[in-house]
């Protein structure tokens, strides 16, 4: 137990704000795309803004608009959003442990603002300083949230000005964006095999059944391959020995 008092929540919050700076530039364009895509897919400004306020999860927001644009049934959209955001379950398990102990209200607030960047920066902070305070996480995550909302609003404005999405390449912006996101995971175990399996299954189902079944089919195929190729971790092996 440390005798020194923990740094004040306010100072921690400001450190989180400071550390968010390098990521503002990667959040903003993504928000622009989401806002513009929402309008292009037939959404209104209010619904598009509300989505960013409540989701704060760009990849799933894009998927929602793509499927909504294809007139997919509600359950398919819900399932797709759930699948794309499933990584948040793992993020939440990982970061909740670092933030504990916290009153429930503060924990729920922290988890609501959790996404890819705040997870990565938060875990790094916990490594460096030995702890992750609520203040630091909230400082970092709130800046990203505000930037996200501002970018969505600008995107909505642009979206209603765009008459021909092809003329500015908006139709390819989303696929390129996701391809690059996938590439960010290339150092993960079996990433290339998982990606290839998903792509092949996705293409087959896309030809055979059409959209939106290709999303679930590719996703499940990739996950199944990952499960088949997985090797027990050291702690699993030790647990099995006992």
């Amino acid at each position: 137990m440390s005798i020194a008092p923990a740094p004040s929540e306010r100072a921690e919050f400001m450190e989180g704000v400071r550390d968010s700076a390098p990521f503002v530039l990667s959040v903003f364009p993504f928000g622009l795309v989401v806002g513009a895509l929402a309008i292009k897919s037939g959404g209104g400004a209010v619904e598009a803004m509300l989505q960013s306020v409540l989701f704060f999860a760009g990849a799933s927001q894009i998927v929602m608009w793509e499927l909504y644009g294809l007139s997919s049934p509600l359950w398919v959209i819900a399932l797709a959003v759930f699948a794309v955001n499933f990584r948040l379950v793992l993020y939440s398990a990982a970061i909740g442990r670092k933030l504990e102990p916290l009153p429930k209200r503060k924990m729920v607030g922290a988890l609501f603002l959790l996404q890819d960047l705040s997870l990565a920066v938060g875990l790094r902070r916990a490594d460096e300083v030995g702890r992750l305070s609520w203040g630091y996480h909230m400082g970092l995550a709130s800046v990203l949230y505000v930037v996200w909302l501002a970018a969505t609003a600008v995107g909505i404005g642009f979206g209603s000005l765009i008459t021909d999405p092809k003329a500015i390449g908006l139709d390819m912006l989303v696929p390129i964006y996701f391809m690059l996101l996938v590439m960010n995971f290339r150092t993960k175990p079996n990433a290339a095999a998982i990606c290839g399996t998903s792509a092949v299954m996705c293409a087959l189902v896309y030809y055979a059944l059409g959209s939106p079944y290709h999303i679930a089919a590719g996703g499940i195929a990739g996950m199944a391959l990952a499960a088949m190729l997985a090797k027990p971790t050291v702690s699993d092996a030790e647990a099995a020995d006992v």
Binding site: T197, C202, G219, M223
Partner: protein, 103 residues
């Protein structure tokens, strides 16, 4: 832009955000209580971003023609070394140039 609210779309947004919130809370309040997670389940969950996001790229490659393929290829090569944003801009720039040229 601010015409009559679309109530079905509002429902879609609310259901989607509820599902997302469940994901965010379930990890800490449910999954973290059931450790250790079987390693095959963990590997499958970790594969979700790659497995799912790939399916959002494939249709564009299937439906695309030469300019779209080149745009993806350029973004891929730039993405191996350079910042994310440069790769996006590079791919889109090449795409627009090729469309302008009528390829």
């Amino acid at each position: 832009m601010f015409e009559q609210l679309d109530w079905y779309l509002m429902l879609v947004v609310l259901v989607g955000s509820a599902v997302t919130l469940v994901n965010r809370l379930a990890g800490h309040y449910i999954l973290a209580r059931f450790e250790p997670i079987p390693y095959r389940v963990e590997a499958a969950l970790e594969a979700v971003p790659v497995a799912v996001m790939t399916t959002l790229v494939v249709p564009a490659a299937i439906n695309g023609a030469f300019p779209e393929w080149v745009a993806l290829a350029v973004a891929f090569v730039l993405g191996l070394r350079l910042h994310f944003l440069i790769a996006v801009l590079g791919g889109i720039t090449v795409l627009l140039l090729m469309r302008q040229a009528g390829l």
